[in-house]
Amino acid sequence: MTAARLNQVLLCLLLGLTAIWLIVPFTMAVLWSLVDPSEPWTADRLLPPVMSFYRWVDMWLNSSLQTALVNSYVLAPSAALAALLLSMPTAYALGRIRFPGREVCKILALLPLIVPPFVTSIFFTSLLYQLGLHSWRFGAILFAHAIVFMPYAIRIMTVSFEQVRTDHIDAARDLGASAWARWQVAYLPALKPGIFASLLIVFIQSIEEFAIAFIVGSPDFTTIPTLLYGTLGQDFVRPNAAVLSLILVVPNVVLMLILERLLKSANPALSSGKG
């Protein structure tokens, strides 16, 4: 068998497998979310007997979905912005100043990704109890998200700062640009893709985060993942869980695709208009 033929066979095989491991599960989730309660979907039928958007409407009106959506979608952009702002000075230092111990600092910045999330969240809650701040749930989760996901922002922004061209900065200075004007013409164009990428990645991570939101937020602060976890637990209603799963997964896939584009375009030569 030639290499090309082998590739074709493998390709078909893999496409089939991928269909099984992606298309079947997601189709099942969509179908379950459309099951009308008037007639249950029993094992002997291939498709639900009656399909409607009843579950979607019902979840929207009669569960904490609306609150969870508001919480998640207020929390995530705030965490993204906070993480970006907090990461900027560190990224500037790591990207543009040579100092002994720089590599150690870069590794230390990855700490939150190594410590198991439930350890961070449980003992962060313990700290909140010691300080008497445990009723301050939104602020506490926002603070924790901003810090736990900052490593992504620091990594991306450090690379962006490294890519700002010194000749651009020098040229701007020689032409008499003030510090603010230099920031605008020399730094900002090269940093822009990194800024968007950092905001987006922290946003996605925060929307998806479960451990901190679950431990710090319980029992009365819900986000989409904690709500989904609730519907998967004791009061497991399959169609409702299907609705929530789709609400959680679809926007994130779209955002991730945008992120991939952004990261590909994060080329300073393009963004600063010089090759």
């Binding site: 599960p25 000075p89 939150p112 350890v119 449980i122 451990a211 989904l228 998967l232």
Partner: protein, 284 residues
């Protein structure tokens, strides 16, 4: 460097790196201190080995340790095992390879809880898998597959979710091997398995180590897959820690948390040493 410059660097690092080190440092410190009886939220605080002593004697704890290590090790090995051939296959672009890469990496975008839900949907008592097996005449009646005793469901989920991550790391490493090196090996008479063993693996050992360790730590500390799809007669370390915390037993939760971190560190070191050891003499 002048003192002024040092002060500038410190001031710049404080809001970012400083906060990270402070938060994680304090969380880890409190975990360690609480495991030795300090910072008690109820009752007296003071140094005590009582919590460790009692925990190490508990059957449920020892089972959780063994179980979490089992899930961590098997998941990381399975993920790397599946990712290697795929990474080598996708080393050179061919028509359709981009689409395959994208499909293989799709599970990275799916939230763990959603993955667990999709999975239990497929393997449910009246789910498609049972229907298919009955339709094919392989099973006479539906089987109970959810929460199986050997945690095969959890291992499948972990591999499904983590294989793309290993693939991402290994593809980068495999693609950076130049054709010259592989051609030279071929000219010297190395067959495809010898090329894999003696050229590709030694040159990609760091990526493999990184994948093994990161997946191991994640799977070791798993909570959601275990709670939803795992066996009901045993608990993972994270699950046990959450259980102790929610019943207000912070010191016991701390002992479990510290054990989890120790196992993560020791396990990562052993995995790194193991890969180095098997590659002994072959890594430049």
């Amino acid at each position: 460097m002048t003192l002024k410059k040092w002060l500038l660097v410190l001031a710049l690092l404080t809001p970012g790196l400083g906060l990270i080190v402070a938060l994680i440092g304090v969380a880890v410190y409190i975990a360690i201190a609480q495991s030795f009886g300090f910072y008690n939220l109820s009752g007296e605080s003071g140094f005590s080995l009582e919590f460790w002593d009692r925990m190490l004697d508990r059957k449920v704890f020892n089972r959780a340790v063994a179980y979490s290590i089992y899930v961590g090790v098997i998941s990381s090995f399975l993920s790397v095992l599946f990712a290697y051939p795929l990474a080598i296959w996708l080393r050179k672009p061919f028509p359709g390879s981009l689409a395959i890469g994208a499909m293989l990496k799709a599970p990275l975008l799916v939230h763990g809880l959603v993955a667990a839900f999709l999975f239990i949907n497929v393997i449910a008592y009246h789910g498609v898998l049972n229907q298919l097996m009955q339709g094919l005449g392989l099973w006479d009646e539906p089987q109970r597959l959810q929460n199986d005793r050997n945690a095969i469901g959890v291992l499948l989920l972990q591999t499904w979710k983590n294989m793309p991550f290993a693939l991402l790391l290994l593809t980068g490493a495999v693609q950076s091997i130049s054709d010259d090196v592989l051609n030279a090996a071929r000219d010297l008479g190395a067959g495809s398995f010898a090329r894999f063993r003696k050229v590709i693996v030694p040159l990609t050992v760091s990526a493999m180590q990184a994948a093994l360790i990161i997946i191991f730590i994640g799977a070791l500390a798993d909570f959601s897959f275990q709670v939803i799809a795992g066996p009901t007669n045993r608990q993972s370390l994270s699950q046990l820690m959450v259980f102790f915390k929610s019943s207000g037993r912070w010191n016991d939760a701390a002992v479990v948390g510290v054990s989890l971190m120790i196992i993560a560190i020791v396990g990562s070191g052993l995995l790194a040493a193991l890969t180095r050891f098997t590659m002994r003499g072959r890594v430049a």
